[in-house]
């Protein structure tokens, strides 16, 4: 609330100023709504890095505003509307739960352009965008299977939703491409963000004999535990090497900068159109942190796989793939449709865990 107020205050001040010196050289006003504090060092932090990249790239030609820790629901609609009303030309709403509020506000402000992250509802002035993080998970799966001595990785999941399930499957596809018998132990913490619980889960997994730590939660706690216990792991959302200088092998980094700069440029050039972007390594929306703490050949292979996925030569979800129950998901050579990926609610063959319903 404190930051919300101060940002609101500065937004009003900024509004007053620009109204006073209105001229042809008005900067483009870009607004952001974040679900967490920008200091979460995870999801919202990475979106804010994208905002800063816009500021750096365009300098005086843009003016950015953000409102952080906006809960999903009625609060979101008010916050989005506030940005729209105060003359923002382009507004990024960066959490799945902002979908309906964004659509509602967009109807009332047809001249304002909206960009909603990870959603699926579009309008004439609402685009959606997301990132194929699962591409990175295929790469870390390959690394895990090569590095692991016990042949088992520990996987800390947040909630059993398609985004996370897809990640586990992709990780296993990568691992199975190296070692068909590779195992994964999955533990759900039912939270995106609780360092203590994440650390407990990591310790439990290590005590049960895993020597690779994978996480789909937002804090660096599991990696920190890995460092302490002398096992290897992967960072999530941002490069966490500082927390685990000897344990992090790479991290799957969300990088929104390129997309954000692109979209702002499109508004400036008057070429902005509503659409849906689901980019991965190819669009630099998913970036792999440097490959470290790895044998040279493994690092080289990881770089090779990264390049193959980037160029489209390798598509992680390519058949033959069977579901956990043995039924066929993809026939030999078939590739999963985006629709199948977005709604994925089953494990592939080889995952031992039972998916919570």
């Amino acid at each position: 609330m404190r930051k919300l107020l101060s940002v609101a205050a500065s937004a009003t001040v900024a509004l007053g100023l620009t109204a006073g010196i209105a001229s042809a050289e008005d900067p483009l006003k870009v607004g952001f709504i974040y679900v967490g504090p920008i200091s979460d060092h995870g999801w919202s932090y990475q979106h804010d890095q994208g905002r800063l990249a816009i500021e750096e790239h365009f300098g005086d030609k843009v003016e950015t505003t953000y409102i952080e820790s906006v809960s999903e629901g009625p609060d979101a609609e008010r916050a989005i509307e506030r940005l729209a009303r105060s003359g923002h030309d382009l507004i990024f709403t960066t959490s799945f739960g902002y979908m309906n509020p964004t659509i509602k506000v967009a109807k009332r402000y047809p001249d304002v352009k909206f960009e909603h992250a990870t959603g699926y509802k579009q309008a004439d002035n609402v685009s959606t965008y997301g990132a194929r993080f699962y591409e990175g998970r295929y790469i870390i799966g390959q690394i895990a299977a090569q590095v692991s001595e016990t042949g088992t990785a520990g996987y800390i999941g947040s909630f059993p939703i398609p985004e996370v399930v897809r990640g586990i499957n992709s990780f296993m596809l990568g691992a199975q491409s190296v070692d068909p018998d590779f195992k994964v132990k999955v533990v759900w913490v039912n939270s995106w963000y609780d360092p203590g619980r994440e650390a407990d889960a990591a310790k439990a997994l290590i005590d049960q004999g895993v020597d690779i730590m994978v996480q789909h939660t937002d804090s660096p706690a599991p990696l920190q535990v890995a460092e302490e216990r002398g096992v290897k792991g992967f960072g999530q959302a941002s490069d966490m090497i500082k927390f685990a200088p000897n344990a992090q092998m790479t991290a799957i980094v969300d990088d929104w900068s390129a997309y954000y700069i692109n979209r702002v440029q499109a508004v400036m050039d008057d070429t902005w159109e509503a659409g849906d972007t689901w980019g991965g390594l190819d669009k630099d929306m998913v970036v792999m942190a440097p490959y470290t703490n790895l044998p040279e050949d493994v690092a080289a292979k990881a770089a090779e796989t990264t390049e193959a996925i980037r160029s489209g030569k390798l598509v992680p979800f390519t058949g033959p793939i069977k579901k956990q129950d043995g039924s066929v998901f993809l026939e030999e050579g078939d590739q999963a449709t985006d629709e199948a990926l977005l709604g994925m609610n089953f494990y592939i063959e080889g995952v031992d865990d039972q998916l919570p319903k």
């Binding site: 404190r2 979460d40 759900w188 913490v189 963000y193 203590g196 310790k203």
Partner: protein
């Protein structure tokens, strides 16, 4: 033995912050003051512990800072509720909200920095004893403090005159006042003690549990501590049982998940709460004793002039 030790170590880590915070709140409530701001005091303790450690390089300075920070928050609470006689429930909630916001502001510069972990204190000769020594006597100072606190609080409350005065003030502040005890002074000290313990609990989070600072890292542990006090019916030994039970179940459910027990993870996540409530309700089922333990003046303001 080999598999059990690391599990026990994890359980101790998970239980200690709850035990510390709850033990402080127990004394506060025994004196008749309900401070719902535990979460807020904890998180300010966490951020101060982390930042002072980062600045001085000495985690013990961080421990002291976290304790001090918790006491400052408690002092504010004491001033508002004891001197100005504001509503304790509302003030406690406000203290939590204040703490969460304030800690975010104070910690802004420390995001994304790895912290320094509080070292383990080896006790020569004792720490090498198999099992008992390697589990219980190879801990950091805060674990020792938390366990010593249980004994100290028990002894203080039930075996000393000062403890009797605290309980008297909590049960009937008018009588205690009539007997010549300073109700405000006793309550101030109890509130400050509660703040110090909550601050330490926060420091434990950012210096031992997960040596890092991130906003909202207490993640509701202050509320669990509050609930533990009530379910333990304001008895220190039951509180010890409750805190360790909660810690144990929350760690063991991860082990159960990793071992592939086919129960829904949502149920497993709720298990610590269920188990702790059930067990503590069973051991406190004697209503007469429970009522006798409940501070009768809990949450009621006291003014000597009235």
């Amino acid at each position: 033995m080999g598999a059990l030790e690391p599990i026990l170590l994890t359980i101790i880590t998970a239980s200690t912050p709850l035990l510390l915070a709850a033990m402080g709140e127990l004394i506060t409530e025994r004196s008749g003051v309900l401070n719902l701001g535990v979460e807020g005091m904890m998180i300010v303790g966490a951020v101060m512990g982390f930042s002072i450690t980062a600045m001085t390089g000495n985690p013990y300075m961080g421990v002291i800072a976290s304790m001090f920070a918790g006491m400052m928050m408690a002092l504010l609470f004491g001033f508002l509720t004891l001197n100005l006689m504001t509503n304790q429930v509302a003030t406690g909630l406000a203290l939590t909200i204040l703490g969460l916001g304030l800690s975010g502001m104070l910690g802004e510069g420390f995001i994304g920095q790895p912290g320094i972990k509080l070292p383990v204190l080896h006790i020569p000769g004792l720490s090498e004893i198999p099992f008992l020594g390697t589990v219980l006597l190879s801990q950091d100072i805060l674990v020792y403090i938390s366990l010593a606190l249980v004994a100290a609080v028990y002894y203080f409350l039930f075996k000393t005159r000062a403890g009797l005065v605290v309980r008297a003030v909590g049960d009937n502040h008018s009588s205690a006042h009539a007997l010549g005890y300073s109700v405000l002074k006793v309550r101030y000290l109890a509130v400050l003690f509660g703040g110090a313990c909550s601050g330490l609990a926060g420091g434990y989070l950012s210096l031992v549990y997960t040596p890092q600072w991130v906003e909202g890292m207490t993640a509701g542990r202050g509320w669990i501590a509050l609930a533990l006090v009530v379910f333990a019916s304001w008895r220190p030994l039951r509180l010890l049982v409750g805190a360790y039970l909660f810690g144990a179940v929350s760690v063991l459910q991860f082990h159960a998940q990793a071992a592939g027990i086919g129960l829904p993870s949502q149920f497993m996540s709720a298990l610590p709460y269920l188990a702790t409530i059930v067990v503590l309700v069973i051991i406190s089922r004697n209503l007469v004793v429970t009522r006798a333990n409940t501070p009768a003046c809990l949450g009621r303001p006291f003014s000597p002039d009235r």
